[in-house]
Amino acid sequence: MELVILILRIYTIFEIAILLIYTLRHFVFTFNRIFGEQRLYYQDIVDSDLDKVTILVPMHNEELVARDVMTQLTTVVDYPRDKFEVIPINDHSSDGTREILDGFAAKYPFIKPLHRDEGGRGKPHGLNDAMDLATGDIIIVFDADYIPSKGIVRDIAICFKDQQVGAVMGRVIPKNTGTNMLTRLLDMERSGGYQVDQQARHNMRMVPQYGGTVGGFRKDVALWLGGFNPYLLTEDTELTFLLFLRGWKVVYANKAECYEESPEDWGVRSRQISRWSRGHNQVMMKSMIPLFRTKHLNFKEKVDGLLLLLIYSIPLIMIIGIPVSLLLFFLGQMNLIDMFLIFILVAAYNSFGNFAPFYQIGTASYIDGVGDRLKLLPLFFFGFLFNVLYISQGAASGMLDVILKRNPEWAKTTRFRKKE
């Protein structure tokens, strides 16, 4: 019994320590965005010698959105046409996606659709096949529901002028913000994630994350790394860590903004976030030890990399912590440290710590210059509970995938755009 109590106590202290570290992390990032020195991004570079770029747009049954993204890429995006090609990847579609892509290809010679009717399905498979065909030095990926702006390709491609940059991540902004409570919360969550979290990590020369869309990477480097593992659900997180572990850098481009369509349905969102968590934890299991061992990262980068790897495990740690603390309470073993100190710590944490992520979201909204939507912040309490549940589920699956050597199936996020 004593051993059990000891284990429970150690776990509780571990959980408290982890939560405090992440609280601190949220505050550091938030304060960096408000008061810290902001690092100059590369979009101001003007250069007549641009690299050749290949745009990849993975699609599976995307007839609702395919025309929009292709129209933007053919008529709006501003990049020298002799250094620009678009490979929309029609991945086993059974709707009208093929016809839409062939229509664009007939009109624009730089559109070269890749129709995949055989072989494995999923984004990593598609990207690997498309990279074999791509003639560009830089690969830029947009999901099919994205709406690229005029200058975004140049803004992403230009930062590969820094020879150490292996990948670039732009900023995603939801287009369907006003649809319902979920989309409104996701809009603010996205703001916090990009405007504060990613930008602060970029400012502090830590580990910004390549997010797999509205971003790019060097083709030769990705091929040299072996392409994308089709059995990992977050090929973007894997690429981020593979690059950092080999000394390449990922930079965040806050000005390279692109509209996306966020999930409008809690069921779709639960599957999406669970998939992200599962994939992220697969990468965590594979990258944790190499992260400690690499010589290419300094201490600060390693700490940030570790916290980034662990981020989708935290809800699971918290969920496990609930029965653990209940058990300790009913066993009368909660007196881990002096009660007065506990009171101070609990009061302090409830005043600041609990709300650290909300401060981050609030700060992002403030920087973005929005007003009344900040009133929605209390509703993140419900979003938090939802996220904890589904992220934990995904985290457990991801860890088991690696331990049991399972190969999960890739799943596409449902689109909500109305048919014209």
Partner: protein, 403 residues
């Protein structure tokens, strides 16, 4: 009773934030997506082009008689339309000018609105102007102050002591005298001159001399598939204590280092070849010895000094300060987290980017004719005399040509 009151207050405090949130959710005031300018694209000539477009649409394409009148541009504006115009000294003007011939101003004139000139423009000394677009040359006399932007389709001359606004652009040569402050500039090329007090003819003569520079053959940098870290290493105390000395200072840079202390060390990164171990790596800096030739891309985590007359056929990145000594040629891009010091008579073929400051010495060439490159410094850029840059300069902090 007290308990009921406390519970009531507690419940109120808990639910008020949710009530406010639900009100915004069901009666939204702020539910539009964040704004993205879908037509934004980086263009150093943006201000001039945008103004020209407005002028074309609202003045040139309509029959407008000469004289002062109210015309709808982006909003209702008072516009003086006319031929050749000489604005008298010590006067203030609150209207837009649309001038079809030459435009000149006297001393200490204040022009608070934008000016469009189809002919040449000569702006008098000590003028304050908001913005000017010239289809021909623009000559800015001493100590002029531009508050917004200045753009020319032909040559532009900026005299000493002038303060350029947010953006300065010339489709041809942009000639700067000493003591000019700037934020962003575009010119093909941008030239800094030692010609204080000299007129336009003298400036043109000097510009021609600067343009006649014989560039070394341009070597395209190989595709970036890898780079090398000149590795952090070593064990010595190099007490030079005078890192940013003038290049004419002959004292040895690593006076305390012995041969045994020096060690060259390159690390294989990616699939880079690693065969030219010519670096001198010290505790706090890396040195590329005088006259070296390097054909790879490389990265230094400590201060990097590229000594005299080196040739680098690759890109360079330094996490600390970077000193490029005289006579060196770098064909690739230069990125630096610290300060960049570019000594006299160097030629850089690529972009120069610093998260800190950039100091460009005398008679430096950046970018080759026919190419456009950028010099971008977060905190400060100083460009000494007789330097020529084809392309774009941006100083987020302060930019100037020193006296």
């Amino acid at each position: 009773m007290l308990i009921v009151l406390v519970i009531f207050i507690f419940a109120l405090m808990v639910f008020i934030p949710f009530g406010i949130a639900l009100k915004e959710l069901y009666y939204p005031k702020d539910d539009k997506p964040l704004y993205i300018d879908m037509m934004h694209s980086k263009d150093p000539l943006y201000f001039g082009k945008a103004f020209k477009k407005i002028v074309k649409e609202n003045i040139e394409n309509k029959i407008i008689i000469h004289g002062t009148q109210r015309i709808r541009l982006s909003k209702d504006e008072v516009v003086e339309v006319g031929g050749a115009r000489n604005v008298p000294a010590d006067s203030k003007w609150e209207n837009i000018f649309y001038i079809t011939e030459d435009f000149t101003t006297g001393n200490r004139t204040i022009l608070r609105k934008d000016i469009y000139v189809k002919g040449g423009s000569v702006i008098g000394p000590n003028n304050v102007l908001r913005a000017i677009y010239g289809e021909q040359d623009i000559y800015l006399n001493e100590k002029c102050r531009v508050t917004r932007w200045i753009s020319s389709e032909q040559d532009m001359f900026v005299s000493s002591g002038s303060h350029l606004g947010r953006s300065t652009a010339s489709l041809q040569s942009l000639m700067l005298m000493p003591g000019v402050q700037f934020e962003s500039m575009y010119g093909l090329p941008i030239m800094t001159m030692d010609s204080s007090g000299k007129g336009k003819t003298e400036c043109l003569k000097l510009a021609a001399q600067l343009k006649n520079f014989i560039y070394p053959p341009r070597i395209p940098v190989r595709k970036v598939t890898s780079w090398r870290i000149v590795k952090q290493h070593i064990s010595v105390n190099c007490e030079d204590g005078n890192r940013f000395r003038d290049e004419d200072d002959k004292s040895p840079l690593a006076s305390k280092a012995t041969d045994g202390d020096k060690k060259c060390f390159c690390e294989k990164a990616g699939f880079a070849p690693c065969n030219d171990n010519i670096w001198e790596v010290y505790k706090d800096r890396v040195v590329l010895p005088e006259g070296s030739r390097v054909q790879t891309n490389f990265v230094s985590r400590k201060e990097l000094i590229i000594k005299k007359n080196c040739v680098v056929e690759g890109n360079v990145k330094s996490y600390k300060d970077l000193i490029i000594e005289s006579g060196t040629i770098i064909h690739g891009d230069v990125f630096c987290e610290g300060d960049i010091y570019i000594r006299k008579n160097t030629v850089l073929g690529g972009n120069v980017f610093s998260q800190s400051r950039i100091f460009v010495g005398n008679n430096v060439r950046i970018s080759f004719p026919g190419h456009v490159k950028s010099v971008i410094g977060k905190k400060r850029i100083e460009i000494d005399k007789n330097s020529v840059i084809y392309g774009y300069i941006l100083a987020e902090g302060k930019g100037l040509t020193p006296w």
